[in-house]
């Protein structure tokens, strides 16, 4: 697939933006201003950025518990996203959701969820809705290798296949469900093999390469829009940090970690190198983009820090459309 320079630049920009956002979250966490826990997507930015760039604004994404990158890559307001992580009133969920429920519905995010595997059925319903309303919108569902062991995986892949839904299943295989390696939980060497049982075409790709993710998603989205049904893409990737805020991830073999966390495998470096080689950007452009994005992220961080917490009694709002 020939990818034009403008798109390459966009892929680089979104990957970097996602990285800088997560680094900001990590910094704020270091300042001890992020309540609760965090599931960072540092290291996995290429998946979010590559997928989101292949979608149009009205397409939907269903996120997982590791959702910051999905939301940012789909075009969320970073100020509202960071404010949410800090539990502020100005957060996109008014401080009711936090990291695990980070969502901006108006840019097409159906929601992030704290229950592993629970997003798949919701994606089925959203795709069914797109089909029944006769739109040409598609739904992309992000989930991890861990979720593929949940019953919803089988139920939802099956339903998406029998109804030929406009749906793309994105497995972010980072090889660990919390601390449990996939070798202990999955008998096949890839998650993608499981799709065959549901007659769903699948592909295993380098999830640290934004361009590869983009190309595979474009193809899958095309199938979905044409009414040919779902595709599963297994993006093999790796967490730069542990599962959650206090996990140093010491259970990962050094050799494995060294490979995945090397500069050559780094998602931002990979797409930057491609964009440079193909003449989509110059070194100077890359620096300019970085400075601009860093400013945006810093500004969002300041907004979040300066924002007020909700009033305590706001805990009672938004249970129902009208209070009962």
């Amino acid at each position: 697939m020939a990818v034009d320079k403008k798109t390459l630049k966009e892929l680089f920009t979104r990957t970097l933006k996602t990285r800088l956002f997560e680094e900001k979250v990590w910094d704020l966490f270091g300042e001890n201003v992020v309540p609760g826990t965090l599931h960072l997507c540092l290291g996995q930015e290429a998946v979010a950025a590559g997928v989101a760039t292949a979608l149009k604004d009205s397409d939907w994404i269903q996120s997982s518990h590791r959702g910051h990158g999905h939301v940012v890559a789909k075009g969320a307001d970073m100020s509202a996203a960071l404010a949410e992580l800090l539990g502020k009133k100005t957060g996109s969920c008014k401080g009711k959701g936090g990291s695990m429920h980070i969502t901006q519905f108006d840019v097409g995010v159906l929601g992030a969820t704290g229950v592993v595997g629970s997003g798949l059925p919701i994606a089925v319903g959203a795709a069914l809705s797109c089909q029944m309303r006769k739109t040409d919108d598609v739904v992309v569902c992000f989930f991890g290798d861990g979720a593929s062991n949940n019953g919803t995986f089988g139920e939802s892949l099956n339903m998406s296949a029998i109804w030929k839904l406009p749906l793309v299943w994105i497995v972010e295989n980072n090889f660990y469900a919390m601390g449990t390696p996939i070798t202990l939980t999955c008998p096949s060497s890839t998650v993608a093999q499981r799709a065959e049982a549901y007659c769903i075409p699948s592909k295993v790709i380098d999830g640290n390469n934004t361009l590869e993710v983009y190309e595979a998603t474009v193809e899958a989205v095309k199938r979905a829009r044409e009414g040919s049904g779902p595709t599963l893409i297994e993006c093999q990737t790796y967490r730069m940090k542990g599962h959650s805020r206090f996990d140093p991830a010491k259970y990962r073999p050094q050799e494995e970690a060294d490979y995945w966390l090397s500069p050559e495998k780094d998602a931002v470096n990979v797409i930057q190198k491609i964009a440079l080689e193909q003449g989509a950007i110059t070194e100077k452009d890359a620096e300019k983009i970085r400075v601009k994005l860093q400013k945006e992220v810093d500004k969002a961080g300041e907004f979040a820090m300066k924002s007020d917490f909700p009033e305590p009694e706001e805990a009672l709002d938004d249970v129902y459309a009208e209070a009962i």
Binding site: W60, Q62, G91, S92, C93, K94, G95, K96, G97, H101, T103, Q104, F105, D106, L110, G111, T113, G114, V115, S118, L120, P121, I122, A123, V124, G125, A126, A127, L128, S129, C130, M132, R133, V139, G151, T152, E155, S156, N158, M159, I162, D317, D318, V319, Y320, A321, I324
Partner: protein, 324 residues
Amino acid sequence: MTEMVYREALKAGLREEMLRDERVFLLGEDIGLNWGGAFKVTKDLAEEFGVERVRDTPISENTIAGAAVGAAITGMVPIAEIMFGDLITLAMDQVCNQAAKMRYMFGGQTSVPLVIRTVFGGGKNLASHHSQSLEAWFMHTPGLKVAVPAFASDVKGLIKTAIRDPDPVLFAEHKLVYDKKEEVPDDEYLIPFGEAKVRREGADVTIWGTFIMLHKALEVAEELQKEGISVEVIDPRTLVPLDKKTLIESVKKTGRLVLVTEETKTGATTAEIAAIVQEEAFDWLDAPIKRVNAPDTPVPFSPPLENYFIPDNKRIAQAVRDIV
């Protein structure tokens, strides 16, 4: 007015709403062409509206409920049928963690206008996995509304209200009321949620109950009238929102309360009602509140065992006599 059974009145309500609003659709196991629903509520609807809108699904309760959630948040109005209330255990994540909480945890960004229809209750020798009364679980889940229609004239107006409600509604039915006949208005009518109905006026004792127990309570009231005991019978019609006012006013009038449901006793809806009444009408009570429930066991199979398990007219009458 036309005399019809509960099942027909419910179907008429579904049909009217499907004619009124093309976003309304049904999904569930065996609800379509070949079966028309395990209790025949949706019989002939697939022929009339097509298999897209009366959609048979695989046996995948969690994804049936989740698909309803996904469709609801993207512009459809789904009505998911879970064939037996016992099987909703397989869909609890989607019903209680997703549908019920989305509006709240996403800070009001999302409405979840769906209906989950299911059926509770014993009396048909279907044993422990097809007979339970689990409505209290859903009353205990903020974000859900819970309808408990017990009469044909109510079920049509309540299902129409449920379908038009912007929040998720657990619409509970009961196996033994499907064949109960009543005069049902021919013209369109909606019954607001949170309005109980005094099914029989009386002066000495108030009976509050649900489903088939209300039918039994009315028989008991008739019988006790001959003994000079005047019984008032209240049908809450919805548990969430709950009409406390009608109940409290009745208790203030009669000074005595008997609570009757088919649920196992501990943690049942009746426990909550008793707590509310002692908080809000303690000074008006002339006797302890009596609870008539099933014992704290699974639902047994054999007829003499099940007959012992389910409260009968005799037990209800005795509870009334105990406090008069």
